[in-house]
């Protein structure tokens, strides 16, 4: 076997070469073929990315079927969340619905109540839009101070995908909204029959009824086959498994807009219908789950910024706990009501870091500190915590969720 003998000789000489053996020795993947094109009709991430998963926090709720898991923000980059990693929040598990058996009803203050099949809906003009979705309770654990050690847990009720769907306006117009109509009730088909009241103005402005995310069909966990998209507004309003839209003259005061998603203030009063998500940002790397492992020198700090009021105009980064700020580089498409990716590259001298980011949106809103928020809202609001997050990074690069003075 002339050919193979030659190979053995080559391998022997390589083993003595000066250098990294993964370079000087021929590796298996450079010699033997991998899987063919018929093996993975629908591909999955590499086995080496097994830690890039949604995680839940068992003690947060009584049961994982009415609970939350979190997007691993510290393992992602860019502005698009892969469909398999979009955080889940449902109140009676993820409903499995055959699209052939799904219907959308429009009733209430309309000229004629209508029923649409999925096939009907796909005949309206379609639009594709990238929007962030943030749960109003994102960072809710942090009102009383630093608690969860990782941006997956402090900020991971957040995702951003490109939706494909039709305009809510177009399907409401098809039924004919009466002039007395001022609100729309959206209802889900799952076992929690989730309901939320949406102002008609918002419904007619930019809401979508979506059946696609990131090019393919909506995922089960995100409401397959149909969900409401309410750009910039709190995630709970984006009703999943959407089956009904009722037009009315008053809001419904449903459980998710009275018992939940109302913001209790220190004087015992509570705000309601606090729909828009405030200007916010977080450094995703370094962070507690993603320490600096390369020591001193060139360091890439990166994070996400978003606002329910439009685009992000600027993000500032501090490495000294808010003493001095540096304007970060926003990279990638800057789309209204979508996540924005920012980077700040610097040479780390190995000393303690107190990392903070501060977003400013197109309306001029500046992300506040947590203490500014507490000064007006106390610590019982649960929702809408958009305060500046601090990560402390020690000399070994280990990062921790802290608060600083």
């Amino acid at each position: 076997k002339a050919g193979l003998a030659g190979g053995a000789a080559l391998a022997a000489s390589k083993a003595q070469a000066a250098g990294d053996p993964v370079i000087t020795e021929v590796q298996d993947w450079n010699r033997y073929p991998g899987d063919g094109v018929d093996v993975h009709p629908y591909g999955m991430p590499s086995q080496f990315e097994a830690d890039v998963v949604r995680r839940n926090v068992a003690w947060l709720t009584a049961d994982p079927i009415s609970s939350i898991n979190f997007t691993p923000l510290h393992s992602l980059d860019g502005i698009i969340t892969p469909n398999g990693l979009c955080f889940e929040r449902h109140h009676a598990g993820a409903a499995v619905i055959d699209p052939k058996e799904h219907r959308l009803m429009i009733n209430g203050l309309v000229d004629k109540p209508l029923i649409f099949t999925m096939e009907d809906l796909k005949r309206f003009p379609r639009y594709n839009r990238v929007y962030f979705l943030e749960c109003a309770a994102n960072s809710g654990m942090e009102w009383r101070g630093a608690q969860l050690n990782g941006c997956q847990f402090t900020h991971g009720m957040l995702h951003c995908v490109m939706y494909t769907g039709v305009l809510l306006k177009d399907i409401l117009n098809e039924a004919g909204v009466k002039t007395s109509g001022k609100w729309v009730l959206a209802e889900g088909a799952d076992a929690s029959a989730m309901t939320r009241s949406i102002p008609l103005d918002k419904a007619m402005e930019d809401c979508m009824v979506a059946f696609g995310q990131n090019g393919e069909a909506l995922r089960t966990e995100q409401g397959y086959p149909l969900r409401l998209v309410v750009p910039g507004f709190e995630g709970n309003m984006w009703v999943k498994w959407l089956r009904r839209l009722e037009v009315g003259d008053e809001p419904w005061q449903q459980r998710e807009e009275t018992s939940k998603y109302t913001d209790l203030l220190p004087n015992g009063k509570a705000r309601r219908f606090t729909f828009a998500m405030d200007v916010k940002s977080v450094i995703t790397n370094p962070s507690p789950q993603a320490p600096i492992t390369h020591g001193k020198g060139r360091t890439v700090l990166t994070g996400l910024a978003w606002s329910g009021h439009g685009t992000i105009k600027r993000v500032d980064v501090s490495i000294d706990g808010g003493r001095n700020w540096h304007t970060a580089r926003i990279d990638g498409p800057s789309l209204s009501l979508a996540l924005h990716r920012f980077y700040y590259e610097f040479d780390w001298d190995g000393s303690d870091l107190y990392l903070q980011s501060r977003a400013i949106d197109e309306k001029g809103y500046v992300q506040p500190t947590k203490n500014e928020l507490r000064a007006t809202r106390g610590e019982n609001s649960i929702y809408h915590n958009n305060g500046i997050q601090t990560w402390y990074v020690n000399k070994d690069g280990v990062a921790e969720n802290v608060e600083v003075s």
Binding site: I115, P125, M141, L167, G248, W325, I382, N401, V402
Partner: protein, 215 residues
């Protein structure tokens, strides 16, 4: 190439898609109830009837007196705690409208077997929850479509509209500080590591009490 969804082709146009819903179809799904009573079905139920249904179908999670088992939701109590460090927000202490109780139980409870209760069942359970919260005190009290709107919840007046814009951090617009914004070196005032309520991979820490819950 970016088309404005507000100005898309066919805006305002009718597409002649879908079909008219039948009255029975609308009735099957249109079960929502509003504070003004819109959507309330015919029917009635008493506190005593409610107690029986509750003990059978609800108490295993919510407790005999709505006090909750484990981490399942509390349904009663907490009156006067809304300004506390640890407010207890229940139907009695927090909910502004009774219609929400009817609506929610009807659409979502009992957890695991939703839409299994009759209209009379839900009237009775709603009456019983009012009783557990001392809003009614008579075991013979009967809740029905006709007296529903007369019940007012104690905390109704404490809900205010969204006024976040008037908070100092948003109202007092000014260019944010860039240099020497705070004197001295940063000092850590609180470590997540001290509480360490972070879930570890493969560790079930259900016992650890968090400092705040997500509802």
């Amino acid at each position: 190439g970016e088309a404005d969804p507000k100005a898309g082709e066919g805006a305002g146009e009718q597409f002649h898609l879908g079909r008219v819903a039948t009255p029975d179809e609308v009735a099957a799904w249109d079960i929502d109830v509003r504070p003004d009573g819109l959507g309330l079905p015919e029917g009635s139920g008493t506190v005593a009837q409610g107690e029986a249904i509750f003990d059978e179908n609800c108490a295993s999670c919510h407790g005999d007196f709505g006090e909750a088992v484990g981490r399942w939701p509390v349904l009663a109590g907490g009156q006067g705690t809304l300004k506390d460090d640890r407010p207890v927000k229940t139907i009695g202490s927090y909910w502004p409208y009774l219609s929400t109780v009817y609506d929610y139980i009807h659409r979502a409870m009992p957890f695991g077997n939703a839409r299994s209760l009759s209209n009379d069942d839900v009237y009775a359970l709603t009456a019983y929850v009012l009783y557990l919260n001392d809003v009614v005190t008579d075991e013979d009290f009967e809740l029905s479509k006709s007296n529903f709107a007369s019940i007012h919840m104690p905390n109704e007046k404490n809900f205010i509209p969204d006024d976040r814009d008037s908070e100092p951090q948003y109202a007092n617009e000014s260019e944010p500080c860039m240099t020497d914004c705070i004197p001295g070196k940063a000092k850590i005032t609180m470590h997540a590591a001290v509480l360490d309520v972070t879930p570890e991979a493969n560790a079930d820490k259900k016992d650890e009490a968090p400092a705040a819950g997500i509802e």
